[in-house]
Amino acid sequence: MAYVPLADQDSEMEMHHPHSWVTKYVWSQDHKVIAIQYGGLAIAVGVVALILSLLMRMQLGFPETFDLIDPSSYYQSVTMHGMIMVVYMLTALLLGGFGNYLIPLMCGARDMVFPFLNMLSVWVYALSVIILLSSFFVGGGPTGSGWTLYPPQTALAGTPGHDMGIVLMLLSLAVFVVAFTMGGLNYVTTVLQYRCRGLTMMRLPLTVWGIFIATILGLFAFPALLVSAIMMLFDLLLGTSFFMPAVIEAGTPLDHNGGSPILFQHLFWFFGHPEVYIVALPAFGLVSDVLSTHARKNIFGYRMMVWAIIAIGGLSFVVWAHHMYVSGMHPYFGFFFATTTLIIAVPTALKVYNWVLTLWEGDIRLNAPMYFAIGFIFTFIHGGLTGLFLGNVVIDLPLSDTYFVVAHFHMVMGVSPVLVIFAALYHWFPKVSGRMFHEGMAKAHFWITFLGTYAIYLPMHYLGFLGVPRRYYAMGATDFIPESAQDLNAAITIAALIVGAAQILFFVNIFWSLRNGKKAGPNPWGSASLEWQTPDTPPKHGNWGDELPTVYRWAYDYSVPGAHEDFIPQNVPESEEPTADEQHFDPDHDASKAGA
């Protein structure tokens, strides 16, 4: 038997070609369909979380006017908004959505290594979403203990959803971890084993690097969440005292004794901090590729970018307790964690420099994906710099648990990844759908989202400086917060409502373009990386037709001196370089030809 490259073993066996509508779109094992299922579901729950946040903003901006939510549902909204956005939206969309779509294509593989497991992953994820959302419909509603789920509060009657809500939340998280593990094993194994001929690790686009390292982080970090969820379920349902100390619930002592709430916090943040980078690293990767393609220039300092991704990934496991400076843990931990946290700023800063240096002496094409990508650089600089306040333990003392924290993490892991997600959705939309999106609508979407979110979060930092605490249903009277803070709150709410409403533009654009967009052709951006070189657009099941591609170069051969075109695709051998122009496709000039 002749040796078959690992990446092509599936063509030897029979591909699991779908035979009916159900196997094609529901129980599909095609990574591209799974990606769309993952992404679609993640965006759908993201919209739920967005609506929850708008409800909270209405309460905060106009406390006595709307009466939409009471204290109980306010805390439930806080909790569900946070958990959905971090885990069920961002993680699922970036890894399950973009990871699934792009890894096999960028690696030149026909599919993931284990397509069946991949299908299972998305449906188990769907199950976790159903369990999570079902908590809205049980007695007491979803848990209102904040997305951090700190015990003993989660278990006490003073917290909404302390009976069914929290159990469903923990169950849903455990199921999500299972789904993530199934997907994650696929992503890492595919990247390691299914790269096509010639595609060394250092020839991979940074998107794959970002998702690859993020997945490894996830595989090691999510167990901590699973472990804490299991132990908390024991405490809640079986009466053990892993995390529960002796406490009094509304005047009655409970049966627990001796447990350590801080142990839970350590476990939670051992997951929770890497989680930040599970979201950030794929976004770093995606934005690098969007920037490089549209600047018509290689990503500056590719090796440094890879090292930074790895360094950030590694460091992210030794900084977790910077979320716990005021938790009552041993104060000496502060020295260690403040130091590691500020060290992580160095590789992160290098990434920012390299993005900007990628633009330097480029040939920047200012279209909608690029707008979002450049907008990301701005918001990420802002969010990254405010992180230096909070990471430095003494500055965290006055600012911790104020709106400064809220503004910081929304800037750095809310707005920034979301801008990247939009950049990436617009950038890869032509490959996924075969059609171009509406540029004008996309740019309008950008302007409102970018300026609107800055109008939300820049002033919010100043509420934090004032000392306005987070997670307050109503501010009430204080002697240190001036009346004008409420005006600021109202302005933030108005900006938030506008940004929220503007997201409709995105959905309109997508659905309009699916039918009416110009035909895109295989490579509308003139991109060098492999996913744009598929024989069909959108790629068919199996991606590459009869023969897998062979890779001769890295993914960033843009504007190579002497080359005829300003990009050379990865699968073009050196000998063919000058004739690469037939690959080129300019949507503004060639759209009509391609559409024919």
Partner: protein, 451 residues
């Protein structure tokens, strides 16, 4: 092009916003100027980086935007530049971190001459304990908490006998003396924050955490809880009064010691009965209440609540502007000359037979249940009995029309906003769970089913 201009304007706008904004840290009132110094260092370093990087970004976008005939430069990397950038970044990071670590070292080591006090949090109130003459706080444990010993002070510990107990959410501290706050919680995580002192720390059930500071400016400051502790989190407030040593000593001496709180003479219901004759005219001989005279039912209400409200009426914390019926009560309450008389009165009322009041309010019980179960039950309990632990009076079987007027008063700001009515203030926030008269009546109707 537009993008470059917008980024430029955003940078300028952010700087202007910063300097023009009236929103900044509150004036510091403790000896932690070093924290503010570290913040300023970080602010300047990050501010300069923010301006330079973004202006450079805007310049790149402007200068290198796509133009006909223009081609990007091929430059895979510039190792020397990257090394330089790493070095400069590292220097900046060290500049911010180093002062931080030094300040942290002083934050974690309280000076030897710091006097201690204990701040105890529970859902959703503050209480405080001072070490008394011996300078040592007695041991305490959540498992020993009772209504008469809310701190769970170890009765067998001699050090605890002279501890000064402050069962109200207002504490005092002397000026210019370092103090170490020992933090303890009876139920869940809380956080002791006084924004003017800059430092904060969580209260963790099962252990004692600490912070220290030296108040250096006289005044009255809010104590906030800044760790989510349940539905009443936003309403968990206290205050700290910083005053001269002499004033502080006078205040401290007026507070009871733990031993005193344990040996209070039993109240005398008979004495209360003698004085009740005046009350009976409106509230009825059996404390059954009389709606026509706007007098709520008293029988069955917890004595601690009756006592507290009588004191409020005396002090003027209740019965202020807009509360005409309450004003009538002020005169009545003043007839009780001292705390003993008030205690006797409450003790007498506690002996009255508790027959549920006749319902007078109708409403949507199902909606009332929704609201009550989600928001009220956390303090007033599922059965509406209330509990001393959350400072929640009994609601079930009490006058429903009175409930409606009081909630309306809380919502209108008539009750609960007086600075001395520290417990009523919480209800001002919670009462917004009911959007208007209709929902208040719905809840009243539901409470009527709890008898």
């Amino acid at each position: 092009m537009a993008l470059a201009v917008v980024i430029f304007l955003l940078v300028i706008g952010s700087v202007i916003f910063h300097f023009a904004s009236p929103w900044w840290f509150t004036d510091i009132a403790a000896d932690w100027g070093s924290i503010d110094f570290t913040i300023n260092v970080t602010f300047w370093v990050t501010g300069i980086v923010f301006i330079l990087l973004n202006l450079f970004l805007a310049y790149c976008v402007y200068k290198f935007r796509q133009k006909p005939g223009h081609k990007a430069v091929y430059e895979p990397e510039n190792h020397k530049l990257e090394v330089w950038l790493s070095v400069i970044t590292t220097v900046g990071v060290v500049a911010m971190l180093a002062p931080g670590l030094f300040v942290w070292a002083s934050i974690v080591t309280p000076p030897d001459d710091a006097t201690e006090f204990e701040a105890m949090g529970q859902q959703w109130q503050w209480a405080f304990r001072y070490p008394g003459a011996d300078g040592i706080l007695g041991t305490a444990d959540t498992q020993m908490v009772t209504e008469t010993n809310p701190f769970g002070v170890n009765i067998a510990d001699p050090n605890g006998q002279d501890d000064v107990i402050v069962s109200a959410p207002e504490m005092h501290l002397p000026l210019d003396k370092p103090v170490k706050a020992l933090l303890r919680s009876n139920d869940t995580l809380h956080n002791y924050t006084v924004p003017q002192f800059r430092v904060k720390m969580d209260l963790v059930p099962g252990l004692i955490s600490y912070i220290w500071f030296e108040p250096n400016k006289a005044g009255r400051y809010d104590i906030m809880c800044e760790e989510l502790c349940g539905i009443g989190h936003f309403a968990m407030r206290g205050s700290v009064v910083v005053e001269t040593q002499a004033e502080y000593d006078v205040w401290l001496a007026a507070q009871p010691t733990f031993a005193e709180t344990q040996t209070v003479a039993a109240a005398n219901p008979a004495a209360g009965q003698a004085q009740y004759a005046v009350c009976a005219a409106c509230h009825g001989a059996q404390g059954e209440g009389n709606q026509a005279l706007n007098s709520p039912k008293l029988a069955g209400q917890s004595p601690w609540y009756i006592e507290r409200q009588l004191k409020y009426f005396k002090e003027g914390a209740r019965g202020g502007e807009g509360d005409t019926n309450g004003q009538a009560m002020t005169a009545m309450a003043n007839m009780l000359v001292d705390d003993t008389a008030i205690r006797n009165m409450a003790a007498y009322i506690a002996t009255m037979p508790d027959t549920a009041a006749t319902p007078t309010v109708t409403g949507d019980v199902a909606n009332g249940y929704e609201i009550y179960d989600r928001n009220c039950a956390a303090c007033h309990l599922d059965n509406g009995d209330g509990t001393w632990y959350t400072d929640a009076p009994k609601l079930a079987g009490m006058s429903d029309w009175y409930f409606v007027t009081q909630i309306s008063n809380f919502r209108a700001g008539i009750r609960g906003l007086h600075p001395s009515d520290v417990y009523g203030e919480q209800m001002v926030g919670m009462a917004t769970a009911m959007s208007g008269l209709e929902e208040i009546e719905d809840v009243a109707a539901y409470i009527n089913t709890l008898r």
